[in-house]
């Protein structure tokens, strides 16, 4: 009983960790720009596929591959912001969202051209026996995924709370005009937010690929799930996104395990709708905060 439950719990935590990272990625851009960047899922795919390219195809050492992958994702985020978001002055928010969808199609086209339609995989970060907890078998990579997610969360927490750049980004979220007036370069902050969210997504992709494989068209589903995670916890709140991500992941794997595998997506969505209808601000954002938001 307990063994099976723990098994489901850990597989839920693994996918949940990636949803949480995607959700955080959404929050980073949303906080700085009020844009929902629906190309967020593609960053995860870029992470997984580029990591395969550097480590398996070019046979570079592990850490070098990770570094190159992160840099590549960062550059993609940078180009995306400079080429499509920055040129628009005072655009409609809906239009911005549609542009991010269009960019995600471009990225998907590029990924398909360079990697084809096959799924890719590379070995786990560490070789070794799976860990056994009360009879539940946990692959070492699962621990890596959860650990890396935790690490990202802590780093981002310190970034937003303790560094000037992080604080400046939060200021842009609260009031861009006021931020500009106190000398914050809002345009630069928007750029940093895209790069940062791309990197966070790519890290998720690097970590999850040995477990769940990666293919060029995985992005949209990841984006939807990550978006649900962000909304569930309250858009803009990072701890909300983490909680939302893990909640969706666990619910999915519990439903798949105990009820029916086809229904795993439905349960997460139904919970999402209930939260939206009864506590639209999400778990961690208060109603007053919601009213302050322009969109």
């Amino acid at each position: 009983m307990l063994t099976v439950f723990l098994q489901f719990l850990f597989s839920g935590l693994t996918v949940g960790a990636v949803y949480a990272l995607v959700g955080i990625g959404f929050n980073i851009t949303y906080n700085a720009t009020s844009i929902i960047n629906l190309a967020q899922g593609e960053f995860v795919v870029i992470g997984g596929l580029m990591m395969w390219f550097f480590s398996e195809s070019l046979k570079l050492p592990f850490l070098v591959s990770v570094a190159f992958t992160i840099v590549t994702a960062g550059i993609v985020g940078l180009f995306m912001e400079r080429l499509t978001i920055k040129p628009l002055k005072n655009p409609d928010l809906l239009l911005m969202i549609m542009i991010t969808i269009a960019v995600s199609i471009v990225l998907r086209g590029l990924l398909m051209l360079s990697f084809g339609k096959n799924p890719y995989v590379y070995p786990s970060f560490t070789e070794g026996e799976p860990v056994s907890i009360y009879g539940a078998i946990i692959q070492q990579q699962t621990l890596w995924v959860i650990g890396i997610t935790g690490f990202c969360i802590i780093v981002l927490f310190f970034f937003f709370k303790k560094t000037i750049t992080g604080k400046a980004m939060l200021a842009c979220a609260v009031n861009p005009t006021a931020a500009q007036l106190v000398g914050i370069n809002v345009s630069k902050m928007v750029m940093v937010s895209f790069v940062l969210s791309a990197i966070v997504g790519a890290i998720g992709g690097i970590a999850i690929t040995p477990i769940s494989l990666m293919e060029y068209d995985k992005g949209p589903m990841l984006a939807v799930k990550g978006f649900c995670a962000a909304i569930m916890g309250g858009l803009g709140s990072n701890r909300g996104a983490v909680l939302g991500g893990f909640l969706i992941g666990i619910l999915e794997s519990m439903t798949a395990g105990y009820i029916h595998s086809g229904l795993k997506d439905a349960v997460a969505l139904i919970i999402l709708l209930l939260i939206l209808f009864f506590k639209p601000a999400g778990i961690f954002v208060s109603k007053t905060m919601l009213q302050l938001r322009k969109f």
Binding site: I36, L93, F277
Partner: protein, 316 residues
Amino acid sequence: MKKGDSIAFFVLIFLIILLPVLSGSTYTLTVGIFSGINALVAIGLCILMGYAGQVSLGQAGFYGIGAYVSSVLSLHIGLPIVISTIFAMIVAAIAAVILSVPALRLKGHYLAVATLGFGEIIYIILNEWGPGGPSGFGDIPHFSLLGYTVDSTTGYFYLIWGLVAAVMFFSINLIHSRTGRALRAIHESELACNAMGLNVVALKIKVFILSAVYASLAGSLYAHYVTFISPSSFSLFYSILVLMMVIVGGITNLWGAIIGAVVITVLPELLRRFEELDVLVYGLILTLSLMFFKKGLVPILIEKIKKLRGFAVAKH
């Protein structure tokens, strides 16, 4: 109807009658039929977004309800197609009421994600419990009315575009009516509308139902035309595609929905020659058109015409 609308309407009717005569190729007409089906969904979404200011990412759900309910009723129970189509529209309308009562209190991203959730739930239901599961089912009867069965491509072209014209006629009259003015007022300021005694919530729900009914009609037509359906046609990507049609065509003009539907349906066909590059080129065209034709094709066209006319007047 305004003068511009009347002219556009005559052009539309003219084109509908002329296209099958000028180009008899089945391929052109088939692409035309799909454009028409998409146009029906896009018109509904355009009224909802452009006039009532409400976003929906769940139109594929209503589209799927239309296709599945009508197919199942006509195939398994043997109801006449017209009755089953109308029944599907009623089911979609009920679904719209159930969704809109809680959802329309939400705004912006939250409304978008609530409708997205609804669409995905319908998709999962079709996948799990729809006849044939993920692989779908076929043998859906062709459209028939009073003993006359439509089974030729030209017949379907006239049927579907005839319905597009009818829906367009109704919708244009609607947006120029008292209700339409009230809708635009909601878009400007909900608070002011409330203060003037408009029942904003009831109006929004009505428009939501209208858009669901249009989508359901399109879904039924799709099912009875293709005679085979599977859940994959009713996924989130369809909802996004329809949203794209409305935005590319121009959200502030109902004609934009038709133009957008035609452009977005025809574009992938034109890009076939790029083979593997087609996804990339499609994405690039979308990105660029969204960036440089922000207002949408139709409003930009209208501005251009007005400018030209200004020139002509100045010369005289």
